[in-house]
């Protein structure tokens, strides 16, 4: 996800550490230490992407259930197959990151339920000075049943 401004905030790190089960999650709220954050925390930059497709937006229809069960949304029907992070420097509370994204490799594999289409997305996170912080590579997969249009 491309994000112009991703401030690494203590309270956000606290909630993230709690969700992962860190038994010292409250350390995440200590703004005095410059402590490193969980390596997967950059994924939470989604909170700062104004157009993130996997978050409801005011005035826009959400594809999850309400009175009815919801519907299949364009661009949200894949699954997460792989994820990696190259850490060039630890992310610390107080940093302000930004990110850019680019597509990577694509490939296909025939599975039992159809053809699996894999695609890479590479996200580069840099600090306030443009210095690389983390390179994140995700692989998404969507299945096209045999005989179906893509």
């Amino acid at each position: 996800m491309a994000v112009e401004r991703f401030p690494v905030e203590a309270g956000h790190v606290l909630t993230f550490r709690r969700a992962l089960g860190h038994d010292d999650a409250e350390r995440g709220a200590d703004t005095s230490t410059g402590m490193p954050v969980p390596v997967t925390f950059v994924q939470a930059s989604a909170q700062f992407d104004p157009h993130y497709v996997l978050r409801p937006h005011p005035g826009e229809e959400w594809f999850g259930s309400a009175a009815g069960p919801g519907f299949t949304a364009t661009g949200a029907n894949g699954l997460h197959a792989e994820q990696s992070y190259e850490i060039h420097q630890p992310v610390r509370i107080g940093m302000v990151l930004s990110s850019t994204e680019r597509p990577g490799r694509t490939w296909e594999k025939v599975g039992r339920s159809g053809t699996l289409h894999f695609s890479e997305l590479i996200v580069e996170y840099v600090d306030e000075h443009g210095v690389p912080v983390v390179t994140a590579t995700s692989v998404g997969v969507r299945t096209v049943p045999d005989g179906a249009d893509q």
């Binding site: 909630t15 969700a19 089960g21 997967t40 259930s65 299949t72």
Partner: protein, 133 residues
């Protein structure tokens, strides 16, 4: 946290990441990460629209918990790379256990193999991590 000198090839650690995973824990991760995909938190959507037996955890929750086990061992600012593959879904009620094994030690880094399994022994995540020593 371990002494880095203890990271020798073959050294291993097994960590229970979560017992009896709750739906609320999945919601907690959705809120913190910002990934509100209803596949993970919305039973009617997961069953009736997506065709799954029910909601299942974000792969990134499993990866984050596995990474927690790694950094609890080697130190939070020593990790230089981590990469994983999600091989099976994680469902509410699952108990996950990570096994971390040192596979290579060089002058300035160590490589660990990561495997996370559920209560049935099914591998839900596998990968590697590299840390500076």
């Amino acid at each position: 946290m371990t002494l880095l000198a203890d990271l020798e090839v073959g050294a291993s650690r097994t960590v229970v990441l979560v017992e009896d995973l709750t739906r609320t824990r999945i919601v907690q991760y959705a809120g913190a990460s910002g990934d509100y995909n209803p596949l993970h938190t919305d039973e009617p959507f997961a069953r009736e629209i997506a065709g799954f037996p029910g909601v299942f955890a974000h792969g990134m929750l499993t990866m984050g918990m596995t990474a927690r086990a790694v950094t609890d061992w080697v130190g939070e600012d020593r990790l230089t790379r981590i990469g994983v593959r999600f091989s099976a879904q994680v469902w509410p009620g699952d108990t996950l256990t990570a096994t971390l094994t040192v596979t290579e030690v060089a002058a300035d880094q160590a490589t660990l193999a990561l495997t996370t399994t559920n209560q049935d022994g099914t591998v839900v995540l596998s990968g590697t991590a590299t840390c500076a020593v």
